[in-house]
């Protein structure tokens, strides 16, 4: 696994993941910038994503839906806030209605992706922040999240002052 570090912060409801890939930043950027590549990894394995709109410019929208094993569609999207290819992407990740427009009452998170060159390839740091605790709980309740892992081993880190 390319994952090198994960930290979660209860105070700020932030998840920071650091991963290293043996490719150039330019190549890594394509997995975000090319909708056909994006849909190969955005959805969970059993909820593949289909990207229907992809405008990676500030103010632009990316629209997609994920399809459940039963064929139910879960639309979502991003509002692009800032782009600095191939190094930085900032977006608002939202749940969408059937037409692909943001559902204002639904939870949303702010995602910042930072890609830098390293000796062995490229490092991607993903910082996801949820607006409120309810937003986090709603994401889980909406059934977008597959499975559940035991949190026992992480309790200590989580509670560390």
């Amino acid at each position: 696994m390319p994952l090198t570090d994960v930290t979660t912060d209860l105070d700020t409801r932030t998840l920071v993941m650091t991963c290293d890939f043996p490719v150039t930043p330019e190549r890594l950027w394509q997995v975000w910038a090319d909708p056909r590549q994006l849909e190969q990894w955005w959805g969970p394995e059993t909820y593949p994503a289909t990207v229907t709109e992809h405008d990676l410019t500030p103010g632009g929208l990316v629209k997609y839906h994920m399809t459940s094993p039963e064929g139910e569609k879960f639309p979502g999207g991003w509002e692009v806030i800032a782009v600095d290819a191939p190094h930085r992407l900032e977006l608002r990740d939202f749940f969408a209605d059937a037409d692909g427009n943001p559902v204002e009452s639904a939870p949303e998170s702010r995602v910042v992706i930072e890609i830098t060159a390293t000796d062995t390839g490229a490092r991607m740091v993903n910082t996801s922040t949820w607006e409120s605790a309810e937003d986090m709980q709603k994401v889980l309740d909406m059934g977008m999240v597959e499975g559940s892992t035991s949190a026992v081993s992480q309790l200590d880190a989580l509670l560390a002052a």
């Binding site: 696994m1 390319p2 994952l3 994960v6 979660t8 209860l10 105070d11 409801r13 998840l15 993941m17 991963c19 890939f21 043996p22 490719v23 190549r27 890594l28 394509q30 997995v31 090319d34 590549q37 190969q40 990894w41 955005w42 969970p44 394995e45 993903n126 996801s128 949820w130 409120s132 605790a133 309810e134 986090m136 709980q137 709603k138 994401v139 889980l140 309740d141 909406m142 977008m144 999240v145 597959e146 499975g147 559940s148 892992t149 035991s150 949190a151 026992v152 992480q154 309790l155 200590d156 989580l158 509670l159 560390a160 002052a161």
Partner: protein
């Protein structure tokens, strides 16, 4: 999602968004403590510690019982696990995505379709 779920999530995070309360919770998860025994270790009044314990109790993270004149607090391991699970599940979504990106990038070398 019901409003009681929302209230519960809110209470959890409010309770955990304070380093003294997290410290209290860590200790009472390991064993039962009287509130007065807990209070000795913090540079604040007994009443202030009692308040922190009350916040944790309202969030369902600890339970209290009376023993004579003492009020004994212990942590509810299951409740604390539930909070951890919330963040862990969100983490799992991104772990899955990272795995997917890795698999996608690995195709470059096996299929020679580097763009």
């Amino acid at each position: 999602m019901t409003s009681s779920d929302e209230d519960r999530a809110d209470a959890f995070f409010h309770a955990l968004a304070d380093s003294t309360r997290r410290d209290i919770l860590r200790r009472v998860l390991a064993g039962e403590y009287s509130v007065s025994a807990l209070a000795v270790d913090y540079p604040m009044s007994f009443a202030a510690v009692q308040k922190h314990v009350a916040v944790l109790e309202r969030a369902g993270l600890i339970t209290k019982r009376r023993s004579g004149r003492e009020s004994l607090a212990s942590g509810d391991v299951e409740a604390v696990r539930a909070v951890g699970a919330m963040l862990t599940e969100l983490e799992d979504v991104w772990r899955g995505r990272v795995k997917g990106i890795d698999a996608l990038l690995a195709q470059d070398t096996t299929t020679d379709t580097t763009t």
